[in-house]
Amino acid sequence: MADVKNNIKSKREPLIHIAKRDDMVWWKAWIIRGIAILTSIIIMMAIALVLANVSRPEYASVSVIVETMYRGVLGRIEEGSFVMLWKYLQEVAILLCLALALTPAFKMKFWNCGAEGQALIGGFGAVVCMIELGGKVPDALLIPIIIVVSILCGAIWGFIPAIFKAFFNTNETLFTLMMNYIATKIIAYYVYIEGGGSHVIAPQKHGNLPNLLNNDYLLNIVIVALLTVVMFVYLKYSKHGYEINVVGESQNTARYIGINVKKVIIRTMCISGALCGVGGMLLVAGTDHTIRTDSIGGQGFTAIMISWLGQFNPFIMVIMTGLVKFLEMGMGKVADNCHLNSSFADIVVGIVLLCVVGCEFFVRYSVKFRRNKKEVKA
């Protein structure tokens, strides 16, 4: 009879048992994530080597690829040339800014997929001010106007889905996604009007953010660095951050202690949108001085993944952004040198993100293989 039960039991238990883990020690979790990143780099290297072998065999060695990446991203720092480095930091800054902007919304479990649109519309606000007011008011006045308008535009783009989420529980993922395309079309419209047939708006002379220490990018980098610290403090040490956390963890608890959940959702999305607007403004008023429909270039989507992979911690996000941008730009350079298509960089980013997303499984769950010995009924 005991045999019957054992048979049933062994039939019932699958070969692999998956169980939810209690919290994993943080360093173990980071070892797992490190392994995932390493795995993705190995996959990427392997692909690069194979492809280089086909098109430019002289590039088909790990050391050459690594050197190309390094030169492609950082340039010749040791020779005192920092041009490439600044460009890299600027790219990191813009992506980081968007990821930072998304973080409070994500912490609240509001899936803001609209960073792209919120940033674009912020940049749009800046461009409109530059064109309409440029030359009519002094730059000293124009720049504050640009800042305010960009922030407002971004905030409105975040506010619209938020009110519907708060009052009707409208699906925010799809709503914010659609808002991206509306923003794109508005800009396409404006570019046609202002750019005429050429489909481009020429870089504007007025309303450019001042250059810090004669460096085109330094101001943006400094602002985003400040934002990183501010966001960290906001989320961790401010009352707002605390409310966001409670609402995200349990709306029931939030109500129990008397938090106005609707208010928090709307306020947080305004902040999220506003910061995306800042990102767009930095890009437009700070560096590009013009706008295209693809000014943000999909970074709004990459930012979603950065924020999520950075565990909503601004400082981890800095590292993640640095890594992703390094691989993206570095591989772009490798692809260039090997006469490969530059979209190779996108594939690399995709692989890295998928590996890191997938590895979270091993952080959250433990996998046990069933031993082959017969269990004796306890």
């Binding site: 039991k9 040490y237 409670v246 963890e249 349990s250 608890t253 109500r255 129990y256 202690i257 008397g258």
Partner: protein
Amino acid sequence: MASQPAIELKNITKRFGKVVANKNVNLTVNRGEILSILGENGSGKTTLMNMISGIYFPDEGSIYVNGEEVVIASPKDAFTYNIGMIHQHFKLVDVFSAAENIVLGIKDGKYNLKKSTERIKQISEQYGFEIDPEKKIYTMSVSEKQTVEIIKVLYRGADILILDEPTAVLTPQETSKLFNILRRMRDDGKSIIIITHKLHEVLSLSDKVAVLRKGEYVGTVNTAETNEAELTEMMVGKKVDLNIFRSEPCSDEVRLSVKGITCVDRQGTVVLDDISFDVKAGEILGIAGIAGSGQRELLEAVAGLQKLNSGEITYNNPNTGNADNLRDKTPMQIRNLGVRLSFVPEDRLGMGLVGNMDIVDNMMLRSYSKGKTVFLERTGPRYLALKIINDLEVVTPGASTPVRRLSGGNVQKVLVGREIASSPTVLMVAYPVRGLDINSSYLIYNLLNEQKEKGVAVIFVGEDLDVLIELCDRIMVIGSGKITGTVDARTTTKEEIGLLMTKSDYKGEMNNG
């Protein structure tokens, strides 16, 4: 045929860790018989039934179906032995029609909803169900959903039906309808096991009654040969002396006064029906009742979390002397009135605390908005956290451990500690010792007594009658959202409360066998 056993349990024991949920249970149900399983909350009724329906596997003992020993390792196995269970929480897809839900997962030839509908209608006629197979679940009342669950089981050809507290969610009329159907099924030769803790239902419906108490099997009696008093005694047991210290109430001042509150939930069920009571400063008012009789809604109404249809909640503020109306105010507004109201809800990690936050941050839930800056002030909460860990002997690696990782007793200490720390004038606690070991339980009792001596009006919702009798000053009993009686805890007996708990307006079929 009547005496042929359909299902027998012999010496069934089930443990969950250290807790023994069922110990040496023996049961027999014959064909064409209704057996009631009677017991208080937590007496192990549902665990026992889950073992018959294949959700749990017994640690010891054996199960016989139609005289043969069987192994029931999964719900599927239960189906093959024609056992069907109707759970308390329905497993239905809301946007599907009744028929779609009933046929879900069955593999019997070609999919033909029309044919299935015919069979559903046939089953309904046979037993007297009233159901529209095309009606969507989300438009249905609770009793209709239950009907769907029962037909689902019958459709799969079940001969042995287990119903887990089927009447908890039904109106008296619906209950009587259900009982008629169950009797018809019995006459048809089906065996029915019904879990309940309502005495009158047991007496009116079943042929035999099996009683469980704290996981132990007390015995089986024939319904015809028993009465309410005997069953109550079997169910609640002899009085146990717990030696909880109890001081005399120290004041006559009414702190909180509730008048005629009524509350109707979203489904249209009346969950609170004209409830009125006073709580004095420095007394512990116990609230007894079957789980789900409106206790939660009552406390949430006072805390400002439940919309009321009528009635008044008045708080007599000892500092200002004002009588403030708390009805329709949010928790924040209540706090801003200067009302020091603390609430330890039943759902500790889902409402009272945030599982993923650490102890310090959980301390701040009540107080985070204090202070004029936009920043949080963590020094006070950290000090409080350490104080609670120290005073209440919370076992934790540290103050920055997420509370989700603490054991049940320690979670409760953190929650009660926080609620008491704000020096309340009214303290409401719901099932504060559920799942706690003896030591932690006594610690909580002592804390409540301390508060009482300080002049706090304490409302204690509990389930263990021994504790209620020894801890409280007065005990208010509610049943189906109504007050069925208020007794003096110093003079009452468990039987008296037990009878009040199971009393309700429904007496129509008491003697109908």
